[in-house]
Amino acid sequence: MKEENVIEVNQLTKTFGDFTAVNAISFEVKKGEIFGFLGANGAGKTTAMKMLIGISKPSSGTAKVAGFDVYSQTESIKRNIGYMSQKFALYDDLTVKENITFFGGIYGLSRKKIKEKREELVSELGLENISNKLVGSLPLGWKQKLSFSVSLLHEPKIVFLDEPTGGVDPITRRQFWEMIYKAANQGTTIFVTTHYMDEAEYCDKVSIMVEGKIEALDTPKKLKEQFRVDSMNDVFLKLARIPSPTLPKGNGENIDRN
């Protein structure tokens, strides 16, 4: 059986004026794969991701996400993906239940389905006792796990995680990755950006972006062999040198936010 590509990116480019944030990147992601999208701050990860999730128009190149074109079918893309951003993004002043109901609602799930999902999710995360508490009162680790579960509510084909484990303790990170594995095993494709190189080892395939270009793209094992080092950390250090000082400061990741 031929393995299905759920993301196909070809020569995708994004420029802001004279500055090229993403420079002709190409890669493919297969169904159920955990794809690690690595790069230093300002390497263009977030910009690239925004083009794939349909909130930023590419300058050139082509890309298909879940079989839909990023130029003309962003609505269909949005229906088929989940997204969790690096900023924690549930509503602090809504309870756990209300958050689940709200996000289920905007994805158009039926009331019955929402109720079903809500109960399932609450018991899976062990939140029975606090499901009526405001999310703002939960510890960060729980919020992030909840946030991830919410991004899977509508059973998307692909879920995009933008630095999902920033600022949480190693144990929670471990649990978080167990959740990611579980989702991947059920056939959800995971597209994850991260800073933590130990997390890169968990991925099926990684790409490393340096100054807008993809400099490495393979399984962690092969990359380590190729660069003749023992860890992904060393691979990364070999590739992602300190950004050259001629570039504008904070480029790429900050520019696209405005």
Binding site: Y83, Q86, Y91, F103, G105, L134, N258
Partner: protein, 368 residues
């Protein structure tokens, strides 16, 4: 549609769980209307004055009696000589001194002319002006009553009639202004803050990645505020009718429709602000400095536009509040119908469309 209802429900949770926004929404309108209605007034009442009477004769006594009988003045102090005037003012108690010259009655009879000096504390120029006018009219009144017996060649008797606010109640002037400010504040500031809040928290990104269309997100954010602003408008009108006996001469329906129009104008401004501002604080500053100040200073709410320098008069035209104040003053005080305010209404509609168009354009640029 079901998605939409869920969205609006969420918006109400935000509003009702945040004490600050609840206070701005419901505490402020009531506080403002009461404050402007009771505390801040242009009328003068029971102003403390002092009298320096050099003649102490029949005429001066009669004038003093007339003055103290009026509800405008209270005679606080009798002063013996000029040297005491300055200290009396400095103590800050009195606002004016009436100085009757020596031999007042005698001069009236002999020279057919007598002088009263009115000295006012002009640290507050408006009050000083009013005091002078009120004293003058009391004096004129006295003169006319005295002159009845005497034959003069002719007499001009001005008959003044103040229409639309016969009692010159300043609250009639403030209610339309306060209503304008509150609708503007609630609609523009609260929406711009609530939209930028989602941007700050990162939830806006999540919403944009969801199947909701950007315009659905914005409308979902705005609808609850239309609803709350309408309630506010009703509260203000009810308060002013029952507490301040403010008349609504024209059609209540028209008043309601025009208010909804102005609410939408303000919401459009709020959306525009939220496309510029990245943080809640920035949104609040822009709303306060960019909207509140011009509304208070240039809308004709407190300072009459016709007495402004020409450049400011021209600038005042681009302030939506100016047109809304003209409209509601017309409906509430003069009882006019659409035939008299269609021009102002059209201007507001035009401004609203302009703000919406500009927001859509800015929003698109942001998404590029």
């Amino acid at each position: 549609m079901k998605r939409f209802i869920g969205f609006i429900k969420k918006e109400f949770y935000h509003i009702f769980r945040d004490r600050r926004s609840l206070f701005i929404l419901f505490g402020m309108p009531i506080a403002q209307i009461l404050l402007f209605g009771f505390a801040i007034t242009n009328e003068i009442n029971n102003v403390d004055i002092a009298i320096l009477d050099h003649s102490k004769d029949a005429s001066t006594e009669e004038i003093i009696n007339k003055i103290s009988a009026s509800k405008y003045f209270t005679i606080k102090q009798m002063i013996a000589n000029e040297a005491e005037i300055e200290p009396a003012f400095k103590k800050g108690k009195i606002k004016a001194v009436l100085n009757f010259e020596k031999d007042f009655s005698k001069n009236i009879i002999k020279e057919r002319k007598a002088t009263i000096q009115i000295i006012t504390d002009a640290t507050d120029p408006n009050t000083a002006n009013s005091i002078t006018n009120y004293v003058n009219s009391i004096l004129q009144n006295y003169q006319q009553s005295e002159n009845k017996s005497i034959q003069i060649d002719y007499q001009i008797i001005p008959q003044t009639r103040m229409v639309y606010n016969t009692e010159l109640k300043s609250v009639f002037m403030f209610v339309p202004g306060v209503m304008t400010i509150i609708l503007m504040l609630v609609s523009a500031m609260m929406t711009s803050i609530s939209i930028t809040r989602e941007k700050e928290l990162g939830t806006m990104e999540i919403l944009l990645v969801s199947p909701l269309k950007p315009f659905q997100v914005i409308i979902g954010k705005v609808v609850p505020y239309i609803f709350l602003s309408v309630i506010n408008a009703i509260v203000i009108v009810v308060l002013s009718i029952f507490i301040f006996k403010m008349p609504v001469q024209g059609s209540l329906l028209l008043l309601g429709l025009e208010s909804v129009l102005f609410i939408i104008t303000s919401l459009a401004l709020g959306i525009l602000i939220s496309t510029i501002a990245e943080t809640q604080q920035a949104a609040m500053m822009i709303s306060l400095m960019g909207l509140m100040l011009p509304v208070i200073l240039l809308s004709g709410f407190i300072f009459p536009i016709s007495s402004m320098p020409v450049p400011l008069q021209i600038i005042s035209n681009i302030i939506p509040a100016k047109w809304f104040i003209i409209i509601i003053k017309g409906i509430m005080l003069k009882g006019v119908g659409m035939a008299f305010i269609w021009k102002e209404t059209l201007i507001l509609i035009g401004m609203t469309l302009f703000f919406i168009g500009l927001s859509v354009k800015k929003y698109k640029i942001r998404l590029e």
